[in-house]
Amino acid sequence: MLTRDLAIATCLLALAGGACAARAESPHLGRPISQADLAEWDINILPDGQNLPPGHGTAADGAKIYAEKCALCHGENGRGGHAARLIGGPPKASLEPGSKTIPNYWPYATTLFDLIRRAMPFTQPRSLSNDEVYALAAYILAENKLIGADDEMNATTLPKVRMPNRDNFVVQFPDRM
């Protein structure tokens, strides 16, 4: 029961309280899993680029995939349909519905990769290859003039994209973080 002893020791050190002893009586029914076996679910991309997978894509590749798999909901050339506009839009966000856009609002480009891979296309999530996701991110960023038209997006370049609105946020409850 090395794990359990460790838990108790850590617990006492950290909190030195009665509630802690109760926690140490946990049933310990979680089943250990290896990094390899959880990889299929390990899809969070952090804003510094942590966990971005191998692969690459350009706007030219992305334009073709976009037309085939995205335009039905997001409109021709990303101008919006019954799903959100992805390209262009008002220069500044306001309280008018629909005014928060990728170029005028999103703080990190990594969020694009994360969202496309986990949730898109809406009716077939997790169906895109990593190359396709990089290509779609490149297409959206290039059309929004946030990267060059020929810039390749990959695990190194995507986190370096500087989103214009990044430093414009006010954390509402910093003491709770």
């Binding site: 794990t3 460790l6 838990a7 850590t10 617990c11 109760a22 926690r23 140490a24 946990s26 049933p27 310990h28 029914l29 979680g30 089943r31 250990p32 899993i33 290896s34 959880l38 679910w41 390990d42 899809i43 969070n44 991309i45 952090l46 804003p47 510094d48 909901c73 019954h82 799903a83 500044k92 966000a93 306001s94 309280l95 008018e96 519905p97 005014s99 928060k100 609002y105 999103w106 703080p107 990190y108 990594t110 969020t111 994360d114 969202l115 986990r118 949730a119 809406f122 009716t123 999530p125 997790r126 609105n165 414009n168 946020f169 006010v170 954390v171 509402q172 409850f173 709770r176 973080m177």
Partner: protein, 437 residues
Amino acid sequence: MGKSRQDRSGIAAVAGNGLLDRRALLGRGIMVAGAMGAGAGALNAAAAEPLAEAPWSLTPGDVTPAYGHPSRFEKAVVRTVDNPKNEPSGSRARTPHHLLRGTITPNGLHFTIMHSGIPDIDPAQHKLLIHGMVRQPLVFDLDALMRYRMVTRVGFMECGGNSAPLFSNEPIQADIQALHGLASCAEWAGVPLAALLDEAGVAPGAKWAVAEGADSVHLSRSVPLAKIMDDAMVALYQNGERIQPGQGYPMRLYLPGYEGNMNVKFLRRIQVTDRPGMTFYESKIYSDPLPDGRATQFYFVQEVKSFITSPSPGLALREPGVYEISGVAYSGTGRIAKVLVSADGGKSWAEAALDEPRLPKAFTRFGMAWRWDGGPAILQSRAWDEAGNAQPTREQFVAKRGQTSKPPSVRAFPGHHFNAVTSWAVDRKGEVHHAYA
């Protein structure tokens, strides 16, 4: 104000335009011994008709169903839904506050928002993964979680976008279900997430947990580890039964007092990290532009708020006389300490009676006696929580957060975390409208 004045029935007026001492409604003794029995109150109604046996009293009734349902006469007490044809987008179902009393929202009437439909999850195959900055990644199934010590607590759930129509520069005419229906309150039971994280062993330097659902958008939100270790729960039961599919069956993250969207449904994964994920919903959706050009981020807390559920739009007053003004108050910071009510648009206020129990981060029901004299009135409620936070007036709120330049659709979400005072205007016909005052 006006404490020495008497209502014409003899009950002390406690504020302008007919607000009465709470004993006007609660004190049986005062009804008899006081002036109400002798005054206009008891005798202004026509005599009752002679009593007779009703048909349902003369024949045995139906068999008892295995799972009970409301009376067939209560068919109007349902949620309103945004996309009944299952259009491929977010679907929302709103709580009919004006048709409910007490503080617990029945499970079938609890609000819900789905971003990609309700997944049909087999609980025997559902798994919860805890990984990231932990000593040992662990997988829990439902059978395992059922053996853990569970905790029970009553708490409200509120969408960050509840009351969003009140960001409109003009009052949108809609009922309370459309305006405030994305908040509900239930009793939740489940396993403290801290117990599971302790077993996995949180690594030094960890500060956040990114929670993810098993729905098809794999909805994900970042939660400060401090909140997780404080009172986060893997909720399995709601009001005594397994949480419904629309609430995240078979398990959801429950973060008392925090923005609804963070309470990730169909919870399947917690990744412990040293930074927030900056997921779609925290980067764009639950973040709002401010009047100064900046924008809110990580708003987390549903701040102190109240609204009057009766009278409210759609519940007309039939005739002048004594009514109870009733509503709910809640705060993501703790207990409700005080609710003031006004019948004259905020010129004068009186303290409402608060029903027990007053639980932290839960609905508290308040009540105030009111004699409507048949003239115009503007009803408002304003709450304070035990930490001293005051529900802002609309004027204070708009100064800080702004409003739209033209009225948006009642279903749009121009902003989030609206918690200012709501005003209901009663006209001479007794009809109730949404107003700004």
